[in-house]
Each structure stands twice: as structure tokens, then as C-alpha cells.
Symmetry: C2
Subunit: 420 residues, 2 copies
């Protein structure tokens, strides 16, 4: 793996190289970008065994990590095939660069065209899940950006194996080899140094632990789009359809508990609890979910643990669910407004005006009505893959797809106009 | 003016109050927001004399400022009437909040709606030009945001007089009085303290000197959209229409030299210099422009000063223009790529494919063909007023209007869908 680790390269040198690469990428043709993507998909398939071998070493070395982290770290043949498939889907997507957002002819005859262009150089700091490096590389190249990635040290060997695939595909497509780089300096401080390089870097996307995101926000001199994990809620309203509610609640907790769009807290209106709780608890226990409920919830089943104040603000990312019974819709809203991390919250109700009110008063990046929070995803939303889910309040909010890695600027076509 | 200066209020308290106000603003009706705007326009007109009196005091106190700064500070009856007119135009604009950007029904029946919502709490740090406070207040309220403003100390009395008008209009329309606040703590350090309050603040827009912007970028824990002043270029190509070129060049330099979209450097192709230079220099000298040219330019007129290396990177914001003769289109592009601040650069040419190439290779926020750089303006672009011109590379680039003070999020309407 020596060909991608060059210890003589400083953080600044890597950022400078990324900047140079971004000048080429900015003007790369859609054919060349897609050539890279098709090469990457093929290389992933060809190197599947090698990737799995390195991933196994990472898993063996990983001792002090939680079972949730282990689940995220683990690659399988199916996951690698899924990565290749996702890369090919990105190749099929339209080029977001050059897309005309608006065009107006002004009274003075000026033709004002707002077009999408790449952002420039992006840094993505992430943890665990090694497939992120592939999604990031594919999305950034397709959107005309250069990128510097820094994965978690627990996934180092897996990431290196995947980075080799990326490098091969860059070489095959004739794009600059510095288009996608892993941060070579493995010190934790190197991240802080990188995000200060405002002359070369345009955007940082930190995904992961609160402490990581806080550190990046503090040190960064460039824009940060935060991708914090989610403290997500599902509220079952008094006018919910009980069957839908149970199905959605079980899915929102158990379909992949280590993901940020899984729910951590369920709120249930007291008037529907009798119809929902027995069946819901039965299904949750069948799926080995630990339930931490308030005293009204615990009455339904002896296996429930009593929740304490801390539970309402804890992101378990595991098969644990806190459940609270509320006296009113307003109480549910107040609880969500107080504890939500703003990633994705949902309501189950057949009352249309209450659903509309919920969409207005809950200010999370994604708000759902009668659907599982787990659907908050770039693929499900039709964006192709996603680089993450933005919980920042500028640029965009929610699942961040291809087009969201571009920005608008203005081309103005005149015939001699001046400012009067 | 004691009613707006409350020294017991800390920076954090102001930010907390802004956050509370933003929760109300986020859901304010278009009628209420427009009521505020109409009241503000009327109050400005009614208080015109008082505002001018305070502005005169500021001008008298301002000793150590440049003539360009003085021009920006100076208010007149016409400027105040213009401010009221601009506020009424913002009232007439459509509500950007709630606008549906895209809506797709996915194969599983999910209805995915991407809508515009306010950003939240914005801080705007600006200098000189007191009318900025009115534009900022009007644009932020219309787009549903709370705002904390900090103007330059040289304009303090003018800003206070205008802030009283804003407060009156807030009271008349029933919106929270903390919707628009001046930062009360007058220490320079208070700005650094404000931009660290990530729990309350969502965006900082610094407009002004490089040092100010650098300080804000360094200290800020929240997103920054930079509005640096402009080092803007106009390139007159070998295939330019000489008449258009002269007219545009004179306008781009002299129509308001203290603004960021005025040009500082003119590049002219050697093959067209003979046709353009004599007439252009004559017109520039008539307008009292000091010309700093390279040796080829200076040959045309004894009144030209010889430019040095520093001139190519100096933003004069005054009646001074550096002119360089280039051997080729490529040389012009290389010069602009090296020295441009990325705000607005222009080409004059009748060669269509060259114009298209220029729009591709010059990566400034606004790039113009056959039109004056001075047209880079929210009003001219049809955005209504502007809060400034963004030179950042995320969220948006160029003149920042009403809609740019919102951000998209997702509403998802389901009928029981889960993640399979």
C-alpha cells in the first residue's frame, strides 16, 4: 500500500495538490467523469477479495469498539457489490455542473443566468463505515470537486484498500491523481491543521461524534456543513392508524439501529396507548429491543426499564428505545423541540390539519408524516447516493446529494449595458 | 436614544433574545412581515430630518477616514427616500418562505417536498454605509430571520437613528422587538464573542475590510458567508467593439468608485490598444481618474503613472485604475486567475466562442460578457435589494437576495411507508 502513503507530503502540500486538481475537475467533461466512475465500479468488483481481507484485519484489530461500531465497520461481498452498483448509478445521473437554475432577461436586455458550478476542494472527515470513502469519491468527482478524506483509524486498512481502487480508476480515466486523497498525516491534529487552510480548502464535512464536529467547527476557517448523528423522534398521535403506527415504529427502531436516521425516542398520545402499546411492545421485544419507558409505559410490560432524564437526550445507536406517554399533541411538540437534534422527526396521524401543523412547527431537516424516519436517505429521496445528512442551517439541509455538492454563480450576457 | 442602548444586556443575552425572536419570525405570516416593511418605509420618511441631523454629526466627527469612506458614510434626502422605496419593493416581493423548490413522488408513493425555510439567526457585520442596516433589516424580516447587526463606529449615530425607525416599525407590526438588534456591546472583541455562540447564531455575514473578515472566519463557530471587497477586472479583447469597450470601461471605473463591483484593473489586448487607448484615456482623465499603466500603456499619454507589481493586487476603491497591455487572451485569463478576488470580472468581445470560454475558465461569482462590472447587483439582477455580494463558495455566490436568506429542507408525506 506504499504507493498511496507518502510521508514526505505535508497537510499543506496535499491541500495545494487538491486545489490544483480541482481546477482540472471543474472543467472536466461528463464523459471523463463517468469514465472514472465506471472504472471505479469495475475495480471494486475485481478487488473484492483483497478489500475483504483488509477489512477482516481491521475487524480483528478492533477490540475497544462497541457492537454498533463493529456493525458499521464490517464489509461483506454484498456490501462491496452494493458500492459498485451505487457508483454506476452515480454515473447514470445527469451532470449537475452547468445546470441552469434560473435565467431572466432584464428590462435593460441583460441576460442573467444562474448556473451550478463545483464548490472546489472539499474535506470529508468520517468514522467507521468504510463504504463512505467510495460514495464520497464518486459524488465529489461527478460534481467536479476535489476531495481530501480522513476515515477513522479503526477502518484504516479497509480504507487503504478502497483508496487504491480509487487511485486506479483516476489513473485509468486520466483525471489528476490528487483528485481524491486520503489525509496522509495520521495525527489527530492533522485534521485541525487541514481545516485552517482557507486558501486551498472550500468546505469541510465532518460526520461522526459530537466531539469531532465541535473540534472541526472550532478550528475551521472554512465553511463547515455538519453531519451530526441523529436524536430522532417518532410521535404516535391520538388520531393515528394503530396498525401503521406499530409497523413504522418497529421499522424506525430496528431496521438498522446503528444509522443516524433510526429513532431513539417514541412519543405516544395517552388516548391511543391502549390500542398500540401491547402489540408494539410485543414486537419490539421479539426484535430484542430494550425499552426504557416512563411509568405509564412500564405499566404495560414488566420487561420495560424505567427511563431517567438522561434517556431523552441519549442517542443509543443500538437496540434501545425510550418511550414516553404524552397528554397532548402540544406536549409531544414541546418534547421534540427540546430534545431533537434536528435531523429527522416524524408524526403518525390521520388528522390532516395536525400533520400540516407538525410540518410547520417542527423545524428539523426532514419532517415526515406517516412514514418511517429511516426513509430519510439520499437514495430513497431519489438523489442517488448521499454524502451525508446535513444538520447545518445554510447551503442545504437533509440528505446531501450530487447537486448539493455544487453552488450557483452568475453568468451575465450583455450587448454593451452599463450601470446608469 | 437610550431606548435601544441597554448596557445590562450581554452579547449572549442578545443572541438568546434573537433566537427566541427567530422562532416567532419563522412562522410569521406574509401580511405581518409586510406590515413591518410598510411601517418601516413610512417611519424613514417621517424621520428624515432627524436621521440627516445624526448623519451630519457622524460626518463632522469623522476625521481620520478616507474620502471614499466619507462618500459611503454620507446620507442625503434622496438616499433616505431611496431606502424607503427599496423597503416598499421588498414588501411587494413574494414570500420566499414556504416556496416549493422540487416535489417528487417516489416509486414507493412517498411525496418528497423540498421547501424553503428561514435560516434562523443571522449576524451582519458591516462598515460605513448606514443604509445597509435598513436593507439588512428589511431582507431578514421578509425572509423570516432574526438579525443582529454591528455597523462601523464612524456611522454610529446614523445607525442609531435608523435603528430607532426599525424598532418603531417592529412595535407597530407586532413582531418581537428583538427581531432586529444592534450589537450593544461596543467593544471590538464583542464581535468575536458573538460569532462563537453556535447555540443561538446560524450565520455570520461580514462585509468590509479583509482584516475584519479574517478575524470573523478565525473566531467563528458558525457558518460565515464572506462579502470581501472586490478586486475586479475588465478585459478588452482583440475582437472587442471599441465603442462598447470604452463606454463600459469608463462606467465600470467611474460610476461609483467606492463600491466593490467597480473595476481596479483593465486589461487590454495589444491588437486593439491603438483603437481604444487614446479615446479611453481621454475620457478617464476627463473624469479625474489617475491611471497607473505598464510601459506600453504609458506611451499613450504622459499623464499615466508607471504601475508597479503592487498595483495589480491593490483595491483602490477610488478614482485610480491600473491598466495592463496583454499579448494574448490567454495572458489576460492568467492575470485574472492570479489577481482576481473572485467577485466580478468581465470581457468585452464580439467573438462568441471566446466569450463562452471566458465564462468557463474564469471562476468568479459573477462573470460578464459585454456589460459593465457595476451591474453586478441584486437590484439590477432582479433580486430586489441585496444583503451583499457573496464571495464564499458554499450556499450561493454573487449578489445575495431574499431567497438566498432561506435554506431548503424536506417535508415527506407518506401513507405508511417503511424502509425495506
Amino acid at each position: 500500500m506504499d504507493n498511496i502513503v507518502n510521508t514526505s507530503s505535508s497537510v499543506e502540500q496535499q491541500a495545494m495538490n487538491a486545489k490544483k486538481a480541482s481546477m482540472v475537475l471543474r472543467q472536466a467533461s461528463i464523459e471523463q467523469k463517468n469514465k472514472f466512475l465506471m472504472a471505479l465500479a469495475a475495480t471494486l468488483e475485481e478487488n473484492e477479495e483483497e478489500i475483504l481481507k483488509e477489512n477482516t484485519k481491521d475487524l480483528e484489530a478492533a477490540k475497544n469498539i462497541t457492537s454498533a461500531m463493529k456493525r458499521r465497520l464490517n464489509l461483506t461481498k454484498e456490501i462491496i457489490m452494493g458500492m459498485a452498483k451505487s457508483v454506476r448509478e452515480i454515473a447514470e445521473a445527469k451532470d449537475p455542473v452547468g445546470k441552469v437554475v434560473t435565467e431572466v432577461i432584464r428590462p435593460n436586455g441583460l441576460d442573467i443566468v444562474r448556473v451550478r458550478v463545483p464548490i472546489g476542494v472539499i474535506a470529508v472527515i468520517f468514522e467507521s463505515r468504510p463504504n463512505v470513502i467510495i460514495d464520497v469519491a464518486a459524488l465529489c468527482v461527478k460534481s467536479g470537486n476535489a476531495v481530501i478524506v480522513r476515515g477513522g483509524k479503526e477502518a484504516m486498512l479497509s480504507n487503504n484498500a478502497l483508496a487504491i481502487c480509487i487511485l486506479k480508476a483516476l489513473e485509468q480515466s486520466g483525471l489528476p491523481v490528487y483528485t481524491v486523497q486520503q489525509l496522509e498525516d495520521k495525527r489527530h491534529e492533522a485534521i485541525g491543521e487541514l481545516v485552517q487552510l482557507e486558501d486551498y480548502l472550500d468546505l469541510v464535512i465532518p460526520r461522526g461524534r459530537e466531539e469531532l464536529i465541535r473540534m472541526v467547527s472550532e478550528k475551521s476557517k472554512v465553511a463547515v456543513i455538519k453531519h451530526v448523528r441523529g436524536l430522532c423522534h417518532l410521535y404516535i398521535d391520538s388520531e393515528a392508524d394503530a396498525k401503521k403506527a406499530i409497523r413504522i415504529a418497529v421499522n424506525a427502531k430496528t431496521s438498522n439501529p446503528s444509522t443516524c436516521n433510526s429513532i431513539e425516542t417514541l412519543l405516544i398520545h395517552k388516548d391511543i396507548a391502549g390500542k398500540v402499546m401491547p402489540e408494539l411492545l410485543k414486537k419490539l421485544f421479539e426484535k430484542n429491543v430494550e425499552v426504557r419507558g416512563d411509568k405509564n409505559v412500564c405499566k404495560y410490560d414488566l420487561r420495560c426499564v424505567v427511563a431517567n432524564e438522561e434517556d431523552w437526550s441519549t442517542e443509543y445507536l443500538d437496540l434501545i428505545l425510550s418511550i414516553k406517554m404524552v397528554d397532548s399533541y402540544e406536549d409531544a411538540v414541546a418534547h421534540i423541540q427540546k430534545y431533537s437534534s434536528g435531523l429527522t422527526d416524524a408524526i403518525i396521524t390521520e388528522n390532516k390539519s395536525r400533520a400540516e401543523d407538525f410540518l410547520k412547527v417542527i423545524d428539523s431537516a426532514t419532517v415526515l408524516v406517516n412514514a418511517s424516519n429511516r426513509l430519510t436517505d439520499g437514495g430513497v429521496f431519489g438523489l442517488g447516493a448521499e454524502i451525508g445528512i446535513s444538520t447545518s442551517r445554510i447551503h442545504m439541509r437533509g440528505p446531501m446529494g450530487l447537486e448539493d455538492l455544487t453552488v450557483t454563480r452568475y453568468n451575465v450576457l450583455g450587448t454593451g449595458q452599463i450601470r446608469e
